[in-house]
């Protein structure tokens, strides 16, 4: 059993932080479960989206930041569109993922986080995504070397694979955007 009073004392301010950063009133949620009912990914998650909201309401920081749900959320925003309390739950999920990263918590769905990193690295490098380079890098780092190998040849034949990156003239400007954002968020995140 979780001693909620102790959890609340230890993590005081967590709910307020998530509310401030997401711009959402998590407090408003009355736990109807409509978000979970419509969530296309809920079948694969360890906690239902509704439960994640409850964890935030109760300042259960550790559990709210360490679960598969926040990583499997595809941000399709079905929950957001249907919430009778007007909570943008997809925005809350974004905030929880970002907070988990700031806190250095190992993502429970490590490949999801890895894919996001590799995608952004590709943009940082050339200003646009280089699909083929990104896929190779992802397969190497995830250890799934042969993932989708059977798609490679038909993609090549159908001319769906660009073999060189689409590097823009302003690639340096884009890299600068990444660097500046990192600097600002480092200070604001306090880590």
């Amino acid at each position: 059993m979780t001693n909620l009073s102790a959890v609340k004392r230890k993590n005081q301010g967590f709910k307020e932080k998530i509310e401030a950063e997401s711009g959402q009133s998590v407090t408003s949620c009355y736990q109807c479960g409509k978000c979970t009912g419509g969530c296309p990914l809920s079948f694969a998650m360890d906690y239902a989206p509704r439960q994640i909201v409850r964890m935030v309401q109760l300042n259960m920081k550790d559990r709210a930041l360490n679960n598969s749900t926040i990583w499997l959320c595809a941000t399709c925003s079905t929950c957001t569109a249907r919430c009778p309390r007007e909570v943008d739950l997809a925005a809350v999920m974004d905030t929880l993922r970002i907070e988990a990263r700031h806190q250095g918590i190992k993502p429970k769905e490590k490949d999801v986080a890895l894919f996001h990193d590799i995608f952004l690295n590709s943009v940082k490098k050339s200003g646009r995504v280089f699909e083929m380079g990104m896929t190779v890098a992802y397969n190497m780092k995830s250890g799934n070397l042969m993932q989708d190998a059977e798609l490679g040849l038909p993609m090549f034949v159908k001319n769906k694979l660009n073999l060189t990156p689409d590097k823009i003239k302003g690639a340096k400007e884009v890299k600068k955007i990444f660097d500046k954002v990192k600097e600002i968020e480092k200070v604001e995140g306090g880590h």
């Binding site: 950063e21 296309p40 990914l41 079948f43 694969a44 499997l72 595809a74 941000t75 399709c76 925003s77 079905t78 957001t80 569109a81 943008d88 997809a90 974004d94 905030t95 993922r97 970002i98 990263r101 769905e109 490949d111 999801v112 890895l114 894919f115 996001h116 990193d117 995608f119 952004l120 943009v123 200003g127 646009r128 995504v129 699909e131 896929t135 992802y138 995830s142 993932q147 989708d148 059977e150 798609l151 038909p154 993609m155 159908k158 001319n159 769906k160 694979l161 660009n162 689409d166 823009i168 003239k169 302003g170 400007e173 884009v174 955007i177 990444f178 500046k180 954002v181 600002i184 968020e185």
Partner: protein, 288 residues
């Protein structure tokens, strides 16, 4: 009519056929598209799940370039469209954020650019009139399940486009070119999107549900306006058949490809041969 045009990364690579068909169709309809010089990636899902600032700053650089040219922008990719709209909304609601982002991009963006998806271009009477006038191939027995997915309509406060649960605008375009869109259940369901790399089995299930719903509704093809939906439904269809023992053979079209077919363009020029699931059987002699 003249717009700035933001093709996005997919339309320059995997979804190049969407770009090809869009350019042909827009030219036919007297809509001038001017590709933004030196545009950068919108950041897509990876940016907004990783940072609060990056998903605003990356689109803002593009939008600032467009604002200088004094045009509104058309973004055919559902993801780019969504990120542009989201960035604009955040910037318009928060002056401090606007200041920070302008410092980051070292440009002055006032968030005045209007962002349209490609379907919205057809919500103009002149464009529809020209379209109806120029249709010269009857798309007989083409029964598309018109698939909108997530990013065109949600969150509704961001996109402010059509109805979030039962959108109609793309169906109406299909009717205008003589196709017969079916009523179906999965118009706005999620295909799993970018989770396909990390958790492909989850995406195969979601995409299978969509194919199944389309088939059950009597559709003989699916029409989309999103490169990621297209990739999941077309390129992964064989994996779905293998995994679940299905026998789907459902052509997936970008909606401008079918419009282009109705306007008399060839399979080759519309990039139909780039798809994994062939459409020769369905389109037969309709398209040259």
């Amino acid at each position: 009519m003249k717009y700035a045009y933001f093709p996005g990364c997919s339309l320059h690579s995997m979804a190049e056929e969407y770009n090809m068909a869009t350019e042909l169709v827009m030219e036919d309809l007297n809509v001038e598209l001017r590709e933004i010089p030196d545009w950068n990636c919108c950041g897509s899902t990876p940016a907004h799940t990783t940072s609060h600032l990056l998903p605003v700053a990356l689109p803002a650089r593009n939008l600032a370039i467009i604002e200088k040219e004094g045009l509104d922008v058309v973004a055919p990719c559902a993801a780019c469209y969504n990120r542009f709209k989201a960035a604009n909304k955040e910037l318009n609601e928060d002056d401090d954020l606007k200041e920070t982002v302008n410092e980051i991009i070292e440009m002055d963006y006032q968030a005045n650019v209007e962002v349209l998806n490609l379907i919205e271009v057809f919500q103009n009477d002149d464009v529809m009139e020209i379209l109806e006038e120029k249709v010269n191939v009857e798309l007989k027995n083409i029964k598309p399940a018109v698939y909108y997915g997530c990013l065109l309509t949600r969150p509704p406060e961001v996109t402010e486009f059509d109805d979030a649960e039962n959108p109609q605008s793309m169906d109406q375009i299909m009717e205008a070119i003589g196709a017969e869109p079916v009523e179906w259940t999965h118009k706005v369901e999620c295909c799993g999107g970018s989770l396909v790399m990390a958790r492909s089995e989850v995406v195969l299930k979601l995409s299978r549900d969509i194919l199944k719903a389309a088939k059950q509704a009597g559709a003989n093809c699916i029409v989309t306006a999103c490169p990621l939906c297209h990739a999941n439904l077309d390129m992964r269809q064989e994996q779905i058949n293998k995994k679940f023992g299905d026998d789907f053979n459902m052509p997936i079209f970008y909606f401008t490809q079918l419009i282009g077919a109705a306007l008399g363009h060839s399979k080759k020029n519309l990039g139909l041969k780039r798809h994994f699931i062939g459409s020769e059987g369905l389109l037969g002699s309709l398209v040259g």
